[in-house]
């Protein structure tokens, strides 16, 4: 008798070899400039249940450019493993042709020229078209939003998430989980969630005072679709009060809580669930570890670390699906549920090429309605870029180099720090920079730019602390961001060392001298998690800097030496 694991492996092989995911196919078609909406959406409906996953939209209502990371290092067991594979290695692994639309969507190389060929990606009106097409095949498909939805743009900031709530509601999701949403403050989150027309899930969202589950965020929801019982369990970002300002939502506690996850899986199985889906904002490596510890999860829809994978990763009998960020991808996962369990799957990561996929007229109008009151502020041109501006990558991106430079110039600092977040679209060389573009890489509810004195020793403590959030070999101790971006200071990092000994040779770039542990430096930064931070908003600092430059150019940054990669 064939085991279920064999079934799943057959599904994986079919996906990889025959392009059941359609992936290899659209890559070749795209290279011939014949990419069409029908081909992007082509999918031979499989089994009896369909899941649609979108995550980490970061309030990107409109199509954008988004460059995937060049450097995305894994440590410990994750070293060299997906999703820590980039560029040519990634293309080789998945059989992606050079110069193809797949290369453009999934890797960083030749980004500027490919962007000119293949255009912008995303746009929730295009996403709506994809969702509608899947629902035409499978009317009772389950649409799941992995969170980081109500954060990341000018209109989202001004409306405290209402623009995203309005547009997402029009897409009619079945459930959602959370991360940056909580930075709207607990009162606002509660106000929105109480009126959501779908489930707000989080088995790990607890009441901080009593350390017990909340009523507002149930752990799971049961669905009956395609004649099967499906349980969707929510897993919010575990480290919200640590990575983000806990004082904005002091009533809540999070954590991984994988023992409770096991209890919830057992509970839904006892209630008759034939398939258990976890809608997760853990980040990919944390999901991989959790899949190995918790038994009985069929599918993890993974968010937070912004990885876009053309095929699921199989851990034991659990498949992990990663669907990218910023509205760039939607995943469709069809499941064959028989004899009370999942016997096989078919998967496709659908890239949202905005020039190929027709926008849904209704959602397009709704998006424009959200933007209309702010259109003149949004579209005001602040300057122009000579360089490709991007953020994603473990150590630095040109957007962050520009922000760090703005902090040093505008705040008269020796050193600047910019948080290693993974959101923020890219700007092509020659493109105008609008106010909207600046907000897309800086918008947040705690964006004040501080100016502070720190000793060299303390700067080292910060660098080591953040490095351990990224390079601790145990994924459960990782927070899912990238390394803090630093301006005015170079350093060497050995990612294989333990906390306290990774960072060395910290050098003040303007003098070329080593940072003196006992000496005090003026440090400017933003996104402090501390309450009462004072200073101008970061977007005003960046806007002022870009205005003065007129046209910005960002020189290659060689100030970080990485060892052990």
């Amino acid at each position: 008798m064939i085991s279920r694991r064999d079934f799943l492996q057959v599904s994986m092989a079919a996906s990889a070899l025959y392009g059941a995911s359609g992936f290899g196919n659209w890559g070749r078609l795209a290279a011939q400039q014949k990419l069409t909406q029908d081909e992007l959406l082509q999918f031979d409906t499989f089994g009896n249940v369909s899941l649609i996953h979108i995550t980490d939209i970061h309030a990107q209502l409109k199509p954008i450019y988004f460059r995937e990371p060049e450097i995305n290092l894994g440590v410990g067991d994750a070293r060299g493993q997906v999703p820590h594979v980039t560029g040519a290695d990634f293309r080789k692994l998945y059989g992606v042709n050079d110069g193809s639309a797949s290369q453009y969507a999934l890797t960083y190389n030749d980004f500027t020229s490919l962007a000119q060929t293949y255009g912008r990606v995303g746009g929730l009106d295009r996403v709506a078209t994809v969702i509608n097409a899947i629902r035409a095949d499978r009317p009772d498909a389950i649409l799941l939003d992995g969170g980081d939805t109500w954060h990341g743009s000018y209109t989202c900031y001004k409306t405290e998430g209402q623009d995203m709530v309005n547009v997402m509601n029009a897409l009619n999701p079945d459930a959602m989980t959370f991360h940056w949403e909580f930075t709207l403050g607990s009162e606002r989150v509660q106000e929105i969630v109480e009126n959501l027309p779908f489930a707000a899930l989080g088995q790990n969202i607890f009441d901080a005072e009593w350390d017990e589950p909340t009523e507002l965020f149930p752990p799971y929801k049961m669905f009956e679709r395609g004649g099967s019982k499906i349980a969707v369990i929510g897993q919010a970002f575990p480290y919200m009060p640590i990575a983000n300002p806990g004082w904005m939502f002091p009533e809540y506690s999070f954590g991984i809580r994988d023992e409770r996850m096991q209890e919830m899986v057992d509970e839904v199985r006892a209630l008759g669930a034939e398939v258990v889906v976890v809608l997760s904002h853990n980040g990919f490596d944390v999901d991989k570890k959790m899949a190995g510890k918790v038994t009985g999860i069929d599918v993890i829809l993974s968010g937070h670390t912004h990885d876009a994978l053309p095929e699921p990763v199989l851990v034991g009998e659990t498949i992990i699906v990663a669907s990218g960020s910023n509205g760039k991808f939607v995943s469709r996962v069809d499941l064959d549920v028989r004899d009370g369990r999942m016997m096989g799957f078919k998967h496709k990561l659908i890239p949202i090429f905005s020039d190929v996929i027709e926008p849904d007229a209704q959602v397009a109008a709704l998006i424009d309605e959200q933007r209309a009151p702010y259109l003149s502020e949004l579209t005001e041109v602040i300057g122009k870029s000579d360089s490709l501006l991007y953020r994603r990558g473990n150590f630095n991106g040109t957007w962050d180099d520009l922000i760090c430079d703005a902090l040093i110039q505008e705040r008269d600092a020796d050193i600047s720090m910019s948080p290693g977040v993974r959101w923020g679209p890219s700007i092509l060389p020659g493109q105008d920079i609008t106010r909207e573009d600046i907000f897309n890489v800086t918008s947040m509810s705690y964006g004040k730019a501080y100016r502070s004195e720190m000793t060299g020793e303390f700067i080292h403590v910060i660098m080591e602390d953040v490095a351990d959030n990224l390079f601790n070999t145990d994924p459960y101790y990782q927070q899912g961001g990238d390394m803090v971006r630093v301006g005015g200071m170079g350093y060497r990092i050995d990612i294989t060392k333990p906390q306290g000994s990774r960072i060395s040779e910290m050098t003040l770039l303007k003098t070329g001298e080593l940072i003196d542990p006992a000496k005090t430096y003026v440090v400017a930064g933003w996104a402090s998690v501390n309450e009462g931070t004072e200073g101008p908003q970061i977007w005003d600092v960046v806007e002022s800097h870009i205005r003065k430059q007129g046209t910005v150019s960002v020189a290659p940054n060689n100030s970080v030496t990485v060892v052990g990669a």
Binding site: P241, H304, V484, A527
Partner: protein, 138 residues
């Protein structure tokens, strides 16, 4: 990531103190363990320790212990200046041998739970709780 001068100093001192701690403090924890077990071997199974991987607030970290059949459970914070946190004793009429409390942790360290069973044997569980500056996530 802004810090007041006082916080900066406190953290700086904390970091400095931490680098000096391990030898002395682990010795204190080892002494406490020896006093509790009399140097007996400890099994890896039989006691469950539930603590967060990363503390949301190092000043109040929720910790739960459970050891069916235990007469006593000792909880230690190995990296604190005074490692002893609590010793929970269970009488014969105890419905279950479990307890929860909140502890303050001076920095990233191991929290240790040792259960003394009714037959005089011992079991140990340990969990690393990270105390971090935070920020920069996501």
């Amino acid at each position: 990531m802004e810090f007041s001068r006082r916080e900066t100093l406190a953290l700086g001192l904390g970091a400095a103190a931490l680098t000096m701690l391990p030898m002395r403090v682990m010795a204190a924890a080892d002494d406490a363990i020896a006093a509790f077990t009399g140097g007996a071997d400890m099994s890896d199974a039989g006691v469950t320790l539930d603590a967060p991987e990363i503390a949301e607030n190092g000043n109040t970290v929720p910790v739960s212990v459970s050891a069916p059949g235990a007469v006593s459970i000792l909880v230690l914070a190995a990296g604190n200046p005074t490692p002893g946190v609590a010793q929970f004793n269970f009488g014969e009429a105890s419905g279950e041998q479990s307890a929860s409390t909140r502890i303050r942790l001076a920095g990233t360290q191991d929290v240790i739970a040792i259960a003394k069973m009714a037959d005089g044997s011992f079991a140990k569980a340990s969990s690393t709780v990270k105390v971090t500056i935070g920020g920069c996530g996501g």
